[in-house]
């Protein structure tokens, strides 16, 4: 019985694969030669296989193609995927770099920006004295970050001229499509 349990997991796959003489099934085949219960189980699985392969398809309703095409008529296809132009990705990249730097250089009261990967005693060429009041310090830092953000977003959107609608539409489509994919993945 213990032997039967051990082989049970492989049995359905073995039968579905057409009972091939493969090395991976050698132990199972030896077991089947001596175990009547497992042979009966294999026989039942064989009948399940036959029934499943004969599982009929429902005929599609008549006129479905025409009805579907009529439904499609009012629909507009999405824009094809295109790589983002440099005028969008370059400012976005600079924005990311600015944000990363702002996070890494988070201030400590009374000190110049701390660079985490440097030894604490390392001298920084640009070390300056910052206000001791933590509230003022944080206000300066957050204000700086907002300015960097604002500059990056403005660069990304304006590019020194009016926003290019096609690029923005494209960006919006990409974002909405990515959000939908993530949503579907999360739904699973």
């Amino acid at each position: 019985m213990t032997d039967c349990k051990a082989h049970e997991a492989l049995l359905a796959q073995y039968v579905a694969d057409g009972q091939p003489p493969l090395r991976e099934y050698q132990a199972l085949r030896r077991h089947l030669a001596t175990c009547e219960d497992c042979r009966a189980a294999a026989h039942a699985l064989q009948r399940v296989e036959q029934a499943l392969w004969a599982w009929p398809l429902y005929p599609a309703p008549t006129g479905l193609v025409e009805r579907t095409l009529a439904n499609i008529d009012g629909e507009t296809p999405m824009e094809p995927w295109k790589p983002l132009p440099w005028s969008v990705w370059l400012p976005a990249l600079t924005l990311l770099v600015a944000l990363a730097l702002a996070l890494l250089l988070a201030p400590e009261p009374g000190l110049a920006p701390a660079v985490p990967w440097l030894e604490p005693q390392a001298e920084l060429a640009f070390q300056v004295r910052l206000p001791d009041d933590p509230a003022l310090l944080w206000a300066l830092w957050i204000g700086g970050a907002i300015v960097v953000f604002g500059a990056g977003i403005t660069m990304a959107l304006v590019q020194g001229r009016l926003p290019n609608e096609t690029e923005m539409d494209h960006l919006r489509h990409m974002l909405s499509d990515t959000a939908q994919r993530l949503w579907r993945l999360a739904g699973r």
Binding site: A9, L45, V48, A54, W55, A60, V65, N71, I72, P80
Partner: protein
């Protein structure tokens, strides 16, 4: 990625129709739908268990496919992509129907009145046949098992393609199939199919 796309287009018999449909060829789109609608309709019927729902969903799937067709880059076979869209749509619709059913049940309706199984022509003709009785057992399996069985045996997708459609590891797909096969064999015995 480019190599994948190239090999997929070589092995995809629908690649030419897809490419023409992407360029706005309506006849090619009609042909594409005609060649694949049976798969979508059957998958929907298997999951939703109702011909009207299956037809509505089939139309909805092709509307989605048409809208997203310009973004299909041929990295997989068209039918694999189509099955992914159809499977997601089926499961979403099923969830919605289940919520509606729950609300109706809460309102005091009886389960048999709402969920009476409908029989297709094949089932009616073969009602007393052993295979037909086994197909009835399949209808009682949980959705995830019925889905993998339909994709493997009816839609004839490979294990790899099913894994891609359902975004599951290959081993999980095989395990689902084997559990479904074992459950059917056990149920067959229980209901006296000898």
């Amino acid at each position: 990625m480019a190599l994948e796309s190239w090999t997929a287009s070589l092995s995809d018999p629908l690649a030419d129709l897809v490419s023409r449909a992407q360029r706005g060829d309506r006849a090619a789109l009609g042909e594409l739908i005609a060649q694949t609608q049976g798969r979508v309709y059957n998958l929907a019927y298997r999951i939703l268990g109702n011909p009207q729902e299956a037809e509505d969903l089939t139309q909805e799937v092709y509307v989605r496919v048409w809208r997203a067709l310009p973004r299909f880059r041929g990295e997989s076979k068209f039918t694999t992509w189509l099955h992914t869209v159809a499977t997601n749509a089926c499961l979403n619709r099923k969830r919605k129907l289940r919520r509606q059913l729950d609300a109706q049940l809460d309102a005091g309706e009886r389960l048999e009145e709402i969920a009476a199984p409908e029989e297709g022509p094949a089932q009616e003709a073969l009602h007393h046949d052993e295979h037909a009785r086994l197909w009835e057992l399949v209808e009682r399996l949980p959705d995830k098992y019925r889905l993998v069985l339909a994709l493997f045996y009816q839609q004839q997708l490979s294990y790899q393609e099913i894994a891609q459609v359902l975004a599951l590891p290959l081993g999980t797909v095989k395990a689902h199939l084997n559990r479904a096969r074992n459950a059917l064999a056990a149920n067959m015995k229980k209901v006296g199919i000898r």
